[in-house]
Amino acid sequence: MPNSSSIGTMTVFDIVVIGSGPAGTTTARYAAEKGLSVLMVDKKQELGAPIQCSGAVSFNALDNAGVFPSPEFIQEAIYGFAIYNGQGQKKVIDYRKIKPGEYGSEAGAKPLGFVVDRRRFDRYLATQAERAGVTIWLKTEALGYRVLDDGSCEVALKKFNDTITVKAKVVVGADGVQSQVGKWAGIKTHIKLSELASCLQFVVDGVQTEGLLEIVTGHEWAPGGYAWVFPKGHGYAEIGLGVTRTMCTDNAQVYLDKFLKQSFFKERFKNCRILEIQGGGVPLAAPLKIQHADNLILVGDAARHVNSITGGGIHTALSSGKIAGNFLAALLLSGEPCTKENLKGYHNNWLNAMGNNMWKLYEVKRKIFDTADIAQRDEQLYATMSNYFSVDSEYKKI
């Protein structure tokens, strides 16, 4: 198992990963499995909290990243989608009916995806990373990094009350939508107000679901986004929405209240009881054009690796983490320095594997939300969402 070494009093790692979400843990795990010494830090005291995510992820996404779909983190299995327009007309895409035997809850069949508990999911991923040899420090805030003359860099950390400097060959910014790591290297990571979905969801009791992710489109309910009802296991559900603030007059809270009380689901929601409140900012933005600098790369939400049609970010985080971990392992084991030029290979690998498709999705999304006529825009979003989740969608792997 690879361990850190010391020069004088300075601790040395090959890689320091900042942020312990799906992107960070996956990058760390793949790099450590190849024999690198990896430190992963997070300023939080608990993994996966506070929850800023609905937790929907496909079976394939887990499978491709070597994550076993464990009951430890699965809240409910998903078998398809129901896409609604603003008036309540729906298109159901139930893979239990489209491909019986392949998808389903019976023996020999599999789910299409899951809603996961992000606290347990992130902890599971961190455990996998830890077992691969990654050192994890929680309650450790990353304060900054500095490129050194010898081609490596040092990272300033605050671990509980102690200020510590560690030396590394490369820093991985996996610090989420609020990313500060990119800013250290002069990368403009802030997201335009017009491209950040402001999301709010309630975990509720008393709302029936049927193993489908239900997506409600329409400017009336969620301008510049959509509303959702997701199964949450044990009879619970998530009711939430994301709005683009430049396209609406009120905040997400007002829209969620309206969705609960006035939408075509109002009878269905009548007796729901709110158990938890969660929220997040979801970048429905173009991926960053530059995701690397000298001794530094960005992964996951920090690089805006988010599907801008669905707002989904777990799959993209796991995939980019795997690409980043494998790339860094190969680069470091080759003995080449982590210059900006050499790290461009990570960006290229990412573009080839998924980035080019993410750019396409972003263009589709932009075209829809740039449509001035609301009725036309609603129609386009409903059609696009319905196509996106259909069995022959060209984007199924994102």
């Binding site: 300023k43 506070p50 800023q52 805030e141 900054g144 989420g176 939508v177 609020q178 990313s179 500060q180 800013k183 250290w184 802030h190 997201i191 335009k192 107000l193 950040l196 402001s198 999301c199 709010l200 603030r245 905040n251 997400a252 809270q253 409140i277 969660q278 929220g279 997040g280 900012g281 970048p283």
Partner: protein, 75 residues
């Protein structure tokens, strides 16, 4: 970033804040204009006053007071 607006000081209503980080994500300031609590900083004046943070907040937890430019120095 230059702005002709007067600087503002933000206030976060901690009871309303859901720690979603959207305010930090849209902040165009250089690194550092954030608090340890994943929200926008409240202990110093913001001189660009773009108000993106206040606008994007899903639960209206952020409010602000306007300072006149000359007052900003005290923060």
């Amino acid at each position: 970033m230059m702005s002709t607006k007067d600087p503002v000081v933000f206030e976060v209503e901690w009871n309303a804040c859901i720690k979603c980080g959207a305010c930090v994500a849209v902040c165009p300031q250089e690194a550092g204009f954030t608090s340890s609590f994943d929200t926008i900083a409240v202990n110093k004046a913001c001189d660009i006053a773009c108000m993106f943070c206040q606008t994007v907040c899903p639960v209206n937890a952020i409010t602000h007071q306007t300072l006149f430019s000359t007052e900003a120095a005290v923060f």
